[in-house]
């Protein structure tokens, strides 16, 4: 999954940079493999089709949000509004679900994309920091979601086939997982094999240089925020279809777990460097912690409440940050030498 990772070395950082980046990237993958191996040897049924499917089905929403976040962060921006946008989209999807899965999906993703486009326009035009802009639109999306939903959750139609998007399977593979895989493959292709992907990294690496080279910096920004909004919208559709209701109060803190996944995946918050595949690995790593906690409790030897998962996730994030920091510093020193 990480072979598609795009890592762009800056300047003359050379082979050390490449080695460091390789370690950084594969370090996360190794950690994921180790965690899976640990779970597989320790718990019965850890690798059962049921467990794998349910972990992936649940984490598909976070994966989609993190993919959009990854692109935004690669341009040096950030999108705090994704959780609220997902909630808004889940309400839109639920309201339109009686018309069938197609219209509901289309309307919700469109709503998310339009909201993201709004973010992009404000960021690009006013040049206010993305952090502040999307903090404000986080509130706005939540307000719109609550207004549309009349302050309560909106039941979806169970007769129109809408719930298939969240609960259905195709050849035994959950539909949300198929959506997730398609999105990541597309994202990876866009980042690594298109001019747009190069531009995203260029804008994040050095915006001024990007401007001087005549890259459409504004257009790149509009595109990544629109993408992030659309993917958050897609996550909202899955949310509504999986749990049978549009939920205007859901998505709290999604933005921060998405950022954590992106960072764990080795994408630098300063922009210019990033990997789509490693972001997915980051999502799965953070998601598996909860799953393993459940299995561990099932063994009955120790009993940790579900609340431990946030503590462990936080600690895990810290460890990754410290390791990354070491690697980057060593790389900087190597570059100077």
């Amino acid at each position: 999954m990480t072979t598609d990772a795009a890592v762009r070395e800056r300047g003359d950082a050379g082979t050390f940079a490449r080695a460091g980046a390789l370690l950084q990237r594969n370090g996360v993958l190794l950690a994921l493999i180790a965690l899976i191996a640990f779970g597989a040897t320790r718990y019965d049924g850890f690798l059962s089709a049921y467990n794998v499917a349910s972990v992936l089905r649940f984490n598909s929403m976070f994966g989609l949000v993190a993919l959009g976040m990854c692109f935004v962060i690669m341009t040096g921006g950030i999108d705090l509004s994704v959780g609220s946008v997902a909630a808004l989209a889940s309400v839109v999807a639920a309201l339109i679900s009686p018309l069938g899965p197609g219209p509901a999906l289309g309307a919700a993703v469109l709503a998310g994309a339009l909201f993201g486009l709004g973010n992009g326009i404000i960021v690009a035009r006013t040049r206010i920091q993305p952090f502040v802009v999307t903090l404000a639109t986080l509130l706005a999306a939540r307000g719109l979601a609550l207004t549309l939903a009349n302050n309560t959750s909106v039941a979806v139609s169970y007769t129109s086939g809408f719930t298939f998007i969240g609960q259905g399977d195709v050849l035994g593979v959950p539909v949300p997982v198929i959506i997730l895989v398609v999105a990541y493959v597309a994202g990876s292709v866009v980042l690594n094999f298109t001019r747009f992907g190069r531009h995203v990294l260029a804008v994040g690496g050095n915006e001024e240089a990007g401007l001087l080279m005549g890259l459409g910096v504004t257009r790149v920004k509009l595109a990544v925020y629109t993408m992030s909004g659309a993917l958050a919208g897609l996550a909202g559709v899955i949310l509504a279809a999986q749990f049978g209701a549009g939920q205007p109060t859901e998505g709290l803190g999604w933005e921060l777990s998405a950022i954590a996944s992106v960072v764990v995946g080795g994408t630098l918050l300063t922009g210019g460097i990033g990997s789509v595949g490693a972001t997915l690995v980051g999502v799965l790593l953070l998601g598996l912690i909860f799953n393993i906690l459940n299995f561990e409790n099932g063994r009955g030897v120790i009993s940790l409440s579900a609340y431990w998962q946030s503590v462990i996730r936080g600690a895990f994030l810290l460890i990754v940050l410290v390791l990354q920091n070491r690697l980057t510093r060593r790389r900087d020193e190597a570059a100077r030498a």
Partner: protein, 318 residues
Amino acid sequence: MAAARDAIRTYGAFVALVLLVLYNLVFTPNFVSAQTINVNLTQVATIVIVGVGMTLVIATGGIDLSVGSLMAISGALAGIILLSSQPPFDNPAAKVAAAFVLPVLAAGAFGVFNGFQVTRLRIQPVIATLVLFIAGRGIAQVMTNGNLQAFRNESFQYIGLGRPFGIPFQVILMLAIVAIVAWAMRATIFGRYVLAVGGNERAARLAGLPVNRVKVAVYAISGLLSGVAGLIVISLNSSSDANQVGLNMELDAIAAVAVGGTPLTGGHATVVGTLIGACIMQLTRYTLLAHGIPDALALVVKAGIIVAAVNVQRQRSS
């Protein structure tokens, strides 16, 4: 003409607040009543107290996302102490003293940890404080097993329910904190250091300023003030709920700072501005509610205000 425009930008937040008050004086029935004023000030107090710490952190070019989680930790610890009958907490006076002091110190210690990450580990502030944003609420939930801790303790709850001279105690506390920190930013070396670090960290370092110590100090202060705010919230509710205390506080505090006129890039700070910013947000919400606009739509208006305010200030700085 240019001078007038300058004044509006400099005192923009203040002018906006005055206009809001004037509007309410004319159009909102019963606006001038002790109850209305008290309700609004009570609701704004915790945001201002946390916002003051946030102002200092932002002035150094950082940000603190962990404030809400630290409030939850402080609230959870105070709840545990208040419900405990183990010595030395079997003594009522010791219990109340411990319930005030220990939670605030604990939150301060977590603030030091934030500062440690930012200085020693050189992690970006957004991400560094994200660690405790995630883990902090988990710690509070683990401490209380996610249960609601209901308590009743008049001396402790004075911080949230006391009314000396008819003024809510937390409002007095808020004004005192604003006054002290505003003074410290103007008149002490520490205040100068904070601005210098945020203005140009490299220059500050070369000039021999204790950059790391200043940074650790502002995160510690932010933690301490979050701890105080946590105590106020649980006193008001007569219960501590680790799942709820301080939820979304980081957003409200950052919004108050931004609307109040402190640029998020660091190097400048207005503590009184943060007070005004928080009042603007609160009064806007009140005005909309008083005129029958639902809370959900008020959120959309809030978003517009934040963007507009920051945009005006950004033009000022350039």
